[in-house]
Amino acid sequence: MARTTDNRPLAPEALARLVPGTSTAQDVVATLGAPLDVVQLGKRSAYLYRHTASKRAGLWLVVVAFYNVDERSDRIWVFFDEAGVLTHVGATLIASEAEYAMPFEDLHD
């Protein structure tokens, strides 16, 4: 079994401090740190924050091998207007739900 993570987990309480219409890009960076990606959308912009957790499980029975990889991510996209004021926030926080499993198990059901 093996586990890998990428970047730090994203805290829901930090997300709660971001207020569309009030928070600025400076506030967001002060709260969440440096973004993983910055996308220019005309005169507007969007920042990406992501933490990924991956769990791998394998079972080798002489000549038969079973393995499974389950990868889930915490993602936050924040959108800013021309003045750098936060307009939208999209969040998915499921990295902690990554599981060790076998290939015949359905994790997404």
Binding site: V39, L41, V63, D70, E71, I76, W77, F79, G90
Partner: protein
């Protein structure tokens, strides 16, 4: 005496022979990445009416955001994706000489990278949406090259 062997026994022996030598392996694997979006919510998407805020509240954070040129400005395209990939493999390795061996590898790969692509206009209103295999529905979603400002 060999004439009394059934064909199935001979076949089994032929299959087990390399296995006993540690040269045959069968693998069954699966890779999951993120969760599928609720399909019943896709039916609620309405071009010209659904907003970016509603989509983010329904589907969460997308995997990708890219600029999408629209008439009179710049919109955005948002991409969600999830993967459920199954991998079944059979590998046979037969020694030929003391130094070399011949490998045969048969592999079936069931790649099912599915996703949702939403196009928004400059007012953050949904203009178009697609769902299906990302290799098809997001084939034209690319990042615009960054502008390089040159000194005069």
């Amino acid at each position: 005496m060999f004439a009394h062997f059934r064909p199935s026994v001979a076949l089994l022996g032929a299959l087990l022979l390399p296995a006993l030598g540690g040269c045959l392996s069968v693998s069954w694997g699966r890779t999951n990445r993120d969760e599928p979006l609720p399909s019943e919510r896709l039916a609620e998407l309405a071009a010209g009416r659904t907003t970016l805020a509603e989509c983010l509240a329904t589907f969460g954070a997308p995997e990708r955001v890219e600029e999408h040129p629209v008439a009179g400005g710049a919109g955005a395209v948002l991409v969600w994706g999830w993967l459920d990939e199954r991998d079944l493999g059979l590998s046979v390795s037969v020694p030929v000489t003391d130094q070399n061996s011949v490998n045969f590898d048969y592999r079936t790969l069931d790649a099912r990278t599915r996703g949702l692509v939403l196009f928004f206009d400059e007012r953050w209103i949904l203009a178009e949406w697609r769902s299906g295999l990302l290799s098809e529905v997001a084939a034209d979603v690319r990042r615009r090259p960054a502008l390089v400002e040159e000194d005069a």
